[in-house]
Symmetry: C2
Amino acid sequence: MLDVCLLGTGGMVPLPNRFLTSLYVRMAGSNVLIDCGEGTQVALRKFGFSSKNIDVILLTHFHGDHILGLPGILMSMANSDRTEPVEIIGPVGLSKYISSLCIACQDLPFEVKLTTIEKDQGEIIKDPYKITYFKLDHRIKCYGYKLSIDRLPLFNKEKAESLNVPMSIWKDLHHGNEVVLDGKKYTPDMVLDGGRTGLSIVYATDTRPVSQIVNMAHDCDLLVLEGMYGDDEKMTNALKYKHMTMLESVNLAKLANPKEFWLTHYSPSEVSPKKNLEKLQEIFPNTKIVKDGHSISINYED
Amino acid sequence: MLDVCLLGTGGMVPLPNRFLTSLYVRMAGSNVLIDCGEGTQVALRKFGFSSKNIDVILLTHFHGDHILGLPGILMSMANSDRTEPVEIIGPVGLSKYISSLCIACQDLPFEVKLTTIEKDQGEIIKDPYKITYFKLDHRIKCYGYKLSIDRLPLFNKEKAESLNVPMSIWKDLHHGNEVVLDGKKYTPDMVLDGGRTGLSIVYATDTRPVSQIVNMAHDCDLLVLEGMYGDDEKMTNALKYKHMTMLESVNLAKLANPKEFWLTHYSPSEVSPKKNLEKLQEIFPNTKIVKDGHSISINYED
């Protein structure tokens, strides 16, 4: 199972009724936060979570509205007597930004491990889940993230028994490993019944439309994209500041076909983002224009 | 007139229903902010103000809950197309902290003027008002601030006329200057009718009790002090972390005798700070245990 909560839905500036965009994900016993703007630690508390439990923080890029909450959240973790290390993953420059922002965070009682992303695309394995990062097209280097858990294929007990596969090696074969026992070779296909789809969510804000988003999000469980501007006449701004209009985002969603699609990162000038919903759902019916605290639990299909 | 709004009342950590302690003061056409923790810009908006208009930011000290909102508020000022300079005043280390915290604030369209406080006590004249800073007793160097506007003495027109003081020099004499005209010396006492009290507020958080607070706040219009701990059994924490209990603060207020006294900077563990009110008002009746957004307009007495 994978629990997801969109802690905030704002872009640029935190507002009294709209936290900055940040996604909290609980999966496979791990707690992942994507981006941490000013006030993200308050949103975490408001929606029933604790900064104490965060294991990994993924940063999309180094604009203020995505990172200025970092020193505060690290200090709150320290105040909660956390001692486990926290890992922060982000673009080149990570070490410089973290050390500079955290000038007031002295003597944290836990290690802050920094993992710098350098390639345009890659994977970070956090068994049993996986973080895939992919480069977006913003004014500064910016990444989208895919979080996914693979699922073991179905195990066919009857097939294993009929082929006289010893029970002691079922687990190894189920995990895809060949086994030689008493001189006889056993292969995974002797016990497997075809693949099963895992779980995956894809998150991308602060970008012009790029094909990588569609490639990554193809048939995923949840796609979260920015809807910076609802009005199509804001296209000039979208081009100038390298953001997406809601229309551009929903067109990507239509191509990717996720089970669920959320818009977020609304401009402060978007007072009522939902006014565009009907028009967007005509293009892609699974679209949701969500508010702070919107959450979902995603389970395996069967 | 002097408008004061306590934007937040929390200490250490911003909470969903409690912003971090920060005071906003409008006086003599100037807008002054004391401290700027994570979320202070949100509180400003919530209570009807704008970061665009801030002229001076006074920092008490460099603990995170008093400064981590600075980069965000400067960026919001930039987004509002402000071009007038903003002045930040704070203890030694100011330049290092500001440049470090503001790593993500590139190309601000206005000047940030830094004024570093080095002495234990002193005055910064911002005609017609004055900022007096005074050293407190915290774990790191920390200052309290007094904001005051002097008031001209009452002008006695009858006295001036009976002494044949030419009208052309009334203003000079009223402002306390001697004037020689046509060989004759005129002195201020020829037109004045005794002094009048100005307006003043005193703000001090994050400190053990010190006599400077009482000296500064004597008969002032408003005294704002920290009430970090309501329960007297938290005295050990107050000593260890160099804060004041509500009881310690109210005892200082009793000695200083301000017209109004507010407590703020409550520990996150103080869920209901008001529970102590009755006991404290027995010591000093003008005591208020206030909430975020508490405000007052202070006028000259007559």
